[in-house]
Symmetry: none
């Protein structure tokens, strides 16, 4: 297949095939990354498109080639950052059955997918700006929270002793499992410079607490 889009051997492909699309996608990503930086630092309203452009290394007008307006940029940012999580949520681990194992997985996932990534900032943005962006709040609810909570609920149901009242409380309010994670995210942004919070320690303590209650033999 000489001359076809092989890549690798052929002579002098000055521009590799698909260069256009790739560059376009790279630019889009650069803009989204810059937007995340700026939005996270200043919030939606106080962020200037100009700054996003400068940080992304493009001209102001270029942003409007990729996003209809500032709000669309924001929405796309949230969407693109959180969509991979949706995929993860679709396939909950099948086997885990002990509370300890389950919580461990959840915490690991949180750290790996959120706390250790820029997504942390996206979540904070959603919490902060969501109320003014119905589309964002709805997306976040429909695609993330509305899927994560039932999934956690289902895993819990399998993991906890029937009749264990702490387990039943968690099944009813899976938010209780996530709450400290949110607090960690918020704390860092608000008070990090006054008093850093050891998020891992917090989550570990949280798990200990939950396990203390879940593993307890009911009186």
């Amino acid at each position: 297949m000489p001359g076809s889009r092989s890549g690798g051997s052929a002579a002098k492909p000055r521009k590799p095939p698909r260069a256009r699309e790739e560059k376009s996608a790279a630019r889009r990503d650069a803009i989204l990354a810059a937007a995340l930086d700026e939005f996270a630092a200043s919030g939606f309203a106080a962020t200037r498109i100009d700054d996003v452009a400068r940080r992304a290394g493009v001209a102001k007008g270029t942003i409007y080639l990729y996003f209809r307006d500032k709000e669309a940029l924001f929405q796309e940012l949230v969407r693109s950052a959180l969509s991979p999580i949706v995929a993860v949520l679709e396939h909950p681990p099948a086997g885990e059955v002990t509370p300890r194992g389950l919580l461990g997985v959840l915490v690991q996932t949180f750290v790996r997918e959120i706390y250790g990534t820029r997504r942390k900032d996206v979540i904070r943005l959603v919490l902060s700006e969501g109320p003014r962006f119905p589309g964002v709040a709805e997306f976040y609810y429909r695609e993330v929270v509305g899927r994560a909570l039932p999934a956690v609920r289902e895993l819990l149901r399998r993991a906890v002793e029937p009749g264990n009242s702490a387990g039943e409380a968690l099944v009813r309010y899976p938010q209780l499992i996530v709450a400290p994670a949110l607090v960690a995210v918020i704390w860092e942004a608000l008070f990090g410079r006054f008093e850093p919070l050891d998020a891992e320690g917090l989550m570990h303590a949280h798990c200990e607490l939950l396990l203390g209650a879940l593993e307890r033999r009911e009186p």
Copy 2:
């Protein structure tokens, strides 16, 4: 009734003494109340001074007689709304010693002082806008969080069995106690219209969980 709002005797002063100050204070309060409404609904940047003025029933310029600028208004809003809490935190209940009793008091206090009042919105504002307002974040940390957590910590120390590992976790991370309360506040604003959250039920379940762990006889 000496000292009460009358004056009563003098001929000319249609306005009784202190009427000026009272009216002035009332105006200031009206502006702060209006500002809370508007900031809570639209966030700091998207709130227009004009709207605050209209809602407060004063002219736009009047706001600048009471507050240096928009940011000062915001800071004052947070300050004045949260200061009463500071007072509460100064005098922690002395006698409570059982975990159940302590948690009950904390939850009650939360509901009475925050969740059942406009302060809920102030807290949300602080979480949302705090990162962009160092003064606000610092005030909130110094006056509220930085006092509340040690106070709770101290109460816990008194209430939990020594050696109870859940208790020790809580003493180290008192944030774990507050986390669900924050989640309730945030949830309502973000997802209330999709899926209302029973905050009381959440807090109750949270307490049950904590108590399950705290009251457990360590193995």
Copy 3:
């Protein structure tokens, strides 16, 4: 009535009563006048609000205190310039009955009310921009053309010999009477610098022509 809003005799009225409203109206008028200058010179799209403001001697933002946006400014300009004409059209002269007298009045009115005033430019603006401003075209049709033509028609009916075919043509197409006036307006703007047009001579010749036809004894 001492101290009341007399005006005239009383001492030291630093600011005459109604100063506010008068100043406001004067400002509005100044803006409209400046807008006419700029719109007439550059057309709607090419006119910058900034230039209107500068010419009116106000700040850019001030214009938006008086007019919702650029388009509203344009519409108001047309409306306010042409409304007085509407009043004139409401009261057509009652007595004139000869064709010559009627045409004389019409031409005089045209010169006095339009050609000798800035309204000439307003009319040109309507002709130029009207197709893109349905509101303007409609206003002009409803309030001006739609009233002027029937009025002229009625006057003609009274003035021309029954059975005079030229008269009947004019009654059916009163536009024929106005056409040269429009041409004069347009010519001046387009070709004035190449070849000035003697509008009065044109209108006079036009009248002679019409009278030649109207006064003709039918064969």
Copy 4:
């Protein structure tokens, strides 16, 4: 068929000779046609090059291969649309000598060359935008109006009775002959949707009027 679009002999040239030029000319025409549509619908300033390109079926950049800039496109549009008229004006009919015949020819020409074609829109564009485009106004004056009026004048001189005052008026102000035609063009664009104007009827009535005056035996 020498010189026609074949070439026929050579091996490689898939494109017959002149195909390039022809395609190029076709493209230029397509752009001009699209530009007329867009300019006529939106005016010069409000027309986007992008829209012209899309309507012409070419890329935006292509337009700049054929026209220096937007203004040149506009000027070329006017020029190319009106040039054929110039040719017509160069060769006025030689024989017609009666007023009725002359007017008939003029009206026919107007309908055939202008009112029944897209040139109607070009004329409207010139009237609307001309004042802002000295080049356009000058071209229109120099090539069209400045030739048409003298030509009409000359024809009139031959057609009217010497001493006929209406005829002399027309000779002095040939604009009077064209005025209703302009009104028809303008009326349609401005008020067509409120009250359609029977242009033919208007022109017919106009001719009747003129003839009524021209054929009159002077007293």
